[in-house]
């Protein structure tokens, strides 16, 4: 699909929201790809981490929300530590999840976690998972 760019497309409320929630300067990113290179889970992602920022620079937030990337991110913060431009991608991922979850939808349903799992999983795993993936 073509991406049609215009000043209207770029001046996007959702993007402003992402910037507000994450506090990250999306436009500092010069697409070096170091985040993708170091991301431990990028192989499971529909689109690689650096592309998330690129699409945000294009104002294409819906293009990102329909991909699994934000849900694969495990918030390990490796990308933010290594970013040469100080763009905290881990916070951008958090902001994207929030944009999705604040529409009153859950990505993970706590009730659907099998009982046996609930018995064996450490609480920190469960709580963290629900914190990240439910509203």
């Amino acid at each position: 699909m073509n991406v049609q760019l215009s000043s209207e497309e770029l001046d996007n409320e959702d993007i402003d929201k992402i910037i507000e929630i994450s506090g990250a300067n999306l436009f500092a990113c010069y697409q070096c790809g170091k985040c993708t290179a170091g991301c431990p889970t990028s192989e499971f992602m529909d689109i690689p981490p650096h592309e998330v920022i690129r699409l945000l620079q294009f104002g294409q937030i819906e293009e990102i929300l329909c991909k699994n990337t934000l849900w694969i991110c495990a918030s390990c913060i490796t990308c933010a530590v290594r970013c040469p431009k100080g763009v905290d991608l881990s916070k951008i991922m958090e902001a994207l999840r929030q944009i999705f979850l604040r529409k009153n939808v859950n990505y993970v349903h706590p009730n659907e976690v099998p009982n046996e799992e609930l018995q064996t999983l450490p609480q920190i795993a469960l709580i963290a998972n629900f914190r990240k993936f439910t509203h």
């Binding site: 790809g33 990028s42 040469p84």
Partner: protein, 655 residues
């Protein structure tokens, strides 16, 4: 200083500037009004004062003897002040008695739709300038003798080129380097882009030329200790380090280092080759003299050995030699101290991969060099095998404002392309990979060179940074990204070459303090103006060339060195230096010796006489900026022809 004689006979000229002034400002009204103003001897107007006939009228008035000051009401002084002052000299009048009242840019042009007010304003401007003129002094330009000798600090390609250009023009030049030999970084390189000329082959003839030039005095193995004086008259103390060898006797025959039992890693070989404790950095060294490294010499460490002393047929070894301070006087100084590489130890995320086979660019140069430790055979330092998979990483430490250095090191794109080619020439069945962010190949035949590497030598360029390195078996695993395909790229490499960022060479900060020149936020020397004065510093008489100023390649370095040499020669071409006399002076009766002006002066023109407790201004260095005048709490600092009294009378005429 005496109070200037007040000028009370002032001639005034009003220029119409075609219609530029005359169509807005009522010239007749102005003339009428000003002619009545006290002290105005006469007033004349003319269509174009700057024209030949206009200047004739002007000169006539100067010669008449009727007047002792002139005000020209015309355009901005930046345009024609010089024109009229020059004309006044020709007509026998002191040029500093001519002043310009700007009634064009500051009046007619900005008030084109309010003619009446413009006329009023023109009158006011002229009155205030007449007031100022009354107290003008006749001034003469300051002149000083210059020493026609030059010191060049740093003897890499940049410093060598500066020295040669200056020396070939007949000016005596001292060429200083802290290493035992001249040659600098370029001597370490294997081949150069984009022609693949052998670096040593093009450099050594230059080195010999420098060494044999009668106007060049080599001061290698030396450092700048102290600098005093000012443009045209610098006094420099130079520390000549102890070589423990009498260089007057040493012929560089090399018997001593053949006998020396102590082997250590060679700095010239980037530590992958060896040298002895008594050594020359490389065989083509100029001057071809040996030095003893007393940190490693067995005699200095244990008190025993002295084998070199026994071996030397000329009795040149002198363990008792002491370092000494030599003083020289020069008229100008050029700083060409070059660069170092950013330390690869600072790249934490690559450290897990570090081993002997992860090299920086300069080390790789030594590995490629036919005079290097492997005679140009490309093998892994760890086990001597030929690397079949080799990864080059660009921008390591560069363009990374958050963790390392913000700037682009400018030469890495090109030398990496060169490295890949030289690698392929040695290992035709090997595969080079380059991780890059942008390929910056703006230079004559540079882009074509990179394209050749990609197309003809099958170098695989991968667009992305490398996140980390680690070792696995005897390989170095490179984990990077290719943003064009969106893939994470993993390469099990036999060798990794890091294009480390370029930094100004160590010690630049101390040197800049000694020379009273400035460094920028990244430690490079600041030029006086980035566009128009690229080889000068804000300290007159001190110039910069090469990578000490900013990263650049050999081509640009040589060009800049030529520019610096030409600026030096321009400076020294006159017997005397003339200097605008509009400078500050201190009224000693008022000066309390607080010293505030000293710290405010950007040009180091003010000193505090500790005995008299009075400030003293060196007219040669003073640029007339006025900072000291604003700072002085007692009004002791004054500027010639811009005195406080003159300003007061100007204001009084206006209110």
């Amino acid at each position: 200083m005496k109070n200037p004689e007040h000028m009370n006979r002032i001639g005034v000229f009003v220029c119409h500037c075609g219609i530029n002034i005359a169509s807005i400002v009522d010239i007749e009204a102005v003339t009428k009004e000003i002619s009545k103003y006290p002290g105005v001897e006469f007033i004349k107007d003319y269509q174009y004062m700057c024209s030949e006939p206009g200047q004739m009228i002007f000169k006539e008035a100067c010669r008449s003897g009727q007047i002792d000051g002139i005000v020209v009401a015309s355009c901005s002084p930046t345009l024609h002040e010089t024109t009229f002052r020059r004309a006044s000299i020709e007509a026998g009048m002191n040029p500093y008695r001519v002043e310009i009242a700007n009634i064009r840019e500051q009046c007619s042009w900005v008030h084109h739709d309010e003619e009446e007010k413009a006329t009023e304003k023109a009158i006011d401007i002229m009155k205030s300038v007449i007031e100022r003129s009354r107290r003008n002094e006749s001034l003469t330009e300051v002149s000083l003798q210059t020493i026609k000798k030059v010191l060049v600090i740093g003897a890499g390609i940049s410093g060598m080129q500066v020295a040669l250009n200056i020396a070939n023009s007949g000016v005596e030049t001292f060429l200083l380097d802290r290493q035992p030999s001249i040659g600098g970084r370029m001597a370490q390189l294997s081949e150069t882009f984009p022609t693949l000329d052998c670096s040593q082959c093009i450099l050594t003839p230059r080195m010999v030329e420098v060494g044999q030039n009668k106007n060049i005095t080599l001061m290698t193995y030396s450092e700048v200790e102290e600098v005093s004086g000012y443009v045209g008259n610098f006094n420099v103390k130079i520390r000549r380090k102890a070589a423990y060898v009498d260089w007057d006797k040493c012929t560089g025959c090399g018997i001593c280092y053949q006998k020396c039992p102590k082997t250590v890693p060679s700095e010239f070989e980037q530590l992958i080759g060896k040298r002895k404790a008594i050594y020359t950095p490389f065989p083509q060294a100029v001057p071809n003299k040996v030095v003893i490294d007393n940190n490693n010499c067995l005699y200095f460490k244990t008190g025993k050995c002295r084998l070199c002393e026994k071996a030397c047929p000329l009795g040149a070894i002198d363990f008792e030699q002491k370092e000494r301070i030599e003083e020289i006087e020069v008229g100008a100084i050029v700083v060409a101290t070059g660069y170092d590489l950013y330390e690869k130890e600072k790249i934490e995320e690559y450290k897990m991969g570090y081993c002997e086979d992860v090299l920086d660019g300069l080390t790789f140069e030594r590995l490629l060099s036919s005079s290097g430790p492997t005679q140009g055979k490309l093998v892994r330092p760890s086990d001597g095998t030929v690397p079949k998979e080799i990864v080059f990483i660009q921008c390591v430490g560069s363009r990374d404002p958050d963790n390392h250095l913000p700037y682009c090191s400018r030469i890495c794109c090109m030398y990496t392309a060169k490295h890949t080619m030289l690698y392929k020439h040695r290992v035709p069945d090997g595969q080079p990979y380059v991780f890059y962010m942008d390929i910056r190949s703006g230079g004559k035949n540079y882009e074509e060179f990179v394209q050749r590497a990609i197309e003809e030598d099958n170098v695989l360029y991968i667009r992305g940074r490398v996140a980390r390195l680690y070792r696995e078996d005897d390989k170095v695993v490179v984990v990077g990204a290719d943003t064009l395909s969106g893939k994470t790229i993993v390469i099990r490499a036999d060798m990794v070459v890091l294009a480390m960022a370029m930094r100004p060479s160590g010690g630049i900060e101390e040197l800049s303090k000694k020379l009273k020149i400035q460094v920028d936020g990244n430690g490079f020397l600041s030029e006086a103006h980035p566009k128009l004065r690229p080889v000068e510093t804000l300290t007159q008489g001190v110039f910069v060339a090469g990578c000490a100023q900013a990263p650049k390649d050999i081509t640009d370095t040589v060009s800049q060195a030529g520019a610096a040499a030409s600026k030096v020669l321009e400076l020294l071409s006159n017997e005397k230096l003339l200097h605008d006399p509009i400078t500050s002076w201190i009224d000693e009766e008022l000066c309390a010796g607080c010293g505030q002006c000293v710290s405010q002066c950007s040009y180091n023109a003010i000193q505090l006489d500790e005995k008299k407790r009075k400030a003293f201004i060196n007219e040669i260095l003073c640029q007339g900026c006025g900072a000291c005048i604003v700072t002085c709490p007692s009004g002791a600092a004054q500027q010639k022809n811009f005195t406080i009294k003159q300003y007061y009378s100007m204001i009084e005429s206006l209110v």
